[in-house]
Symmetry: C2
């Protein structure tokens, strides 16, 4: 995690205000001031600045996240050409298996699903854009399994092992064992550790230089998902992706 050098308090406060608006899903100025223990006039100046730069919009007396965040976010989502390659393959895999296939990347010790392919175009992947902790998601564990112990520990120091369901791994020792098993079998499993009723099989995608690009996972209800059936197909897709990336 970063945490080096000097942090500018003014910018930090502005960004904390953005976080409050995000957490409260829209908020009034005085709510924000109360939440952060700042004077109304202070928050007003921050909101004015954020508004001028379009990160925030005002609707009546409520402040909301601006659509510029979506504009910038889409840029981040399409930043690497590799991502589009992955999306294409994920789409085909989803059609073949008739299950949901998600592509997640990691930054700052958490992971975010940036593409979700499924054969029902009516519904959007409901988890797209959501943050996940890495110890309780299939994608997360598949990526942790590729990292050094040191790097894994940095993540755990920062985020801990928050419990989401009964099945969430609760101790570091247990997680390290699970990562070892993941490396042995070649894919990760998530048996309702993040969400009740959701199981997933995950596999990291590695760059030619050995670093991790992200992770693909196939998810669905436990009664339907057979890891024996899915793992080989997923392996095949990941191999193809890695080959295509390497030969660009």
């Amino acid at each position: 995690m970063p945490r080096n050098g000097r942090e500018l308090t003014t910018t930090a406060t502005s960004l904390r205000i953005v976080d409050v608006i995000s957490r409260l899903e829209g908020a009034q100025m005085s709510e924000i001031a109360a939440e952060l223990e700042l004077a109304n006039s202070t928050v007003h100046a921050h909101l004015t600045t954020l508004r001028n730069h379009e990160l925030v919009v005002k609707e009546g007396n409520e402040f909301h996240l601006g659509i510029k965040l979506f504009h910038l976010g889409e840029q981040a989502r399409h930043r690497k050409p590799e991502y589009e390659i992955v999306r294409q393959h994920a789409h085909r895999l989803s059609n073949r298996l008739n299950e949901e296939v998600a592509f997640a990347i990691t930054e700052h010790g958490r992971s975010v699903i940036i593409f979700d392919e499924n054969n029902d175009p009516t519904k959007e992947g409901f988890q797209v854009g959501r943050y996940f902790h890495m110890h309780n998601s299939a994608s997360g564990k598949s990526m942790l399994a590729e990292w050094s112990r040191e790097r894994v520990e940095e993540v755990l120091d920062r985020w801990g092992l928050p419990k989401e369901t009964e099945n969430t791994i609760q101790s570091r020792a247990e997680l390290y064992e699970e990562l070892e098993r993941t490396r042995e079998r070649g894919y990760s499993l998530n048996d309702q550790e993040a969400l009740e009723g959701l199981m997933a099989v995950g596999m990291a995608i590695t760059n030619p230089d050995g670093s991790v690009l992200g992770s693909l996972d196939v998810s669905g209800p436990p009664y339907r998902l057979s890891e024996e059936q899915i793992a080989p197909e997923l392996r095949e897709t990941v191999t193809q992706i890695e080959r295509e990336i390497a030969s660009r």
Copy 2:
């Protein structure tokens, strides 16, 4: 446009740095410093702060937009339940017409496509998340046509009438006439005014209180798109959407 009250220079500088990274699609620290005529040490402090808050990531010596922007952007995109209603209807309309249907909203005098439905799930709508000026897009014009002359002028004062193609409207008088025609016929047209070879038919979606929620447009190559065929279908869809929104 906002522009009231006091602007915090520190936050403003941080956000300008984000804009530079966005414009350059990733940049080194000294590039950013040169671009904004700031000392390296200054930019360093800003980048440290932006990194701590996950808006920016460092890869080697390059700084890039962080995936947190995508996280926040998805929240902005799904902010109103009305948007999801629109998306469902847009999807069905796209299937019926076999053409691309986009939903755009406007903030700060420009518009952004937040959903793009088409029957080829292989390709993502390439314009999703991109900013468009309102005078040269079908969505934009359909929304301008609903606004007061005063509000339209604010937009033009801020953004002007940048020329994108040979067909782009170049004068205010011409635009006002076009908006009048739009109101008369009940839908807007974009005949290759923003992109060569792309035509579109647009219609604003209004809230029960008369304000504009956003705009739907159907787009495609001119040889294929018949406004006489599309307009009634689009009208039907918009009416259904407005009815559904009103009865929530």
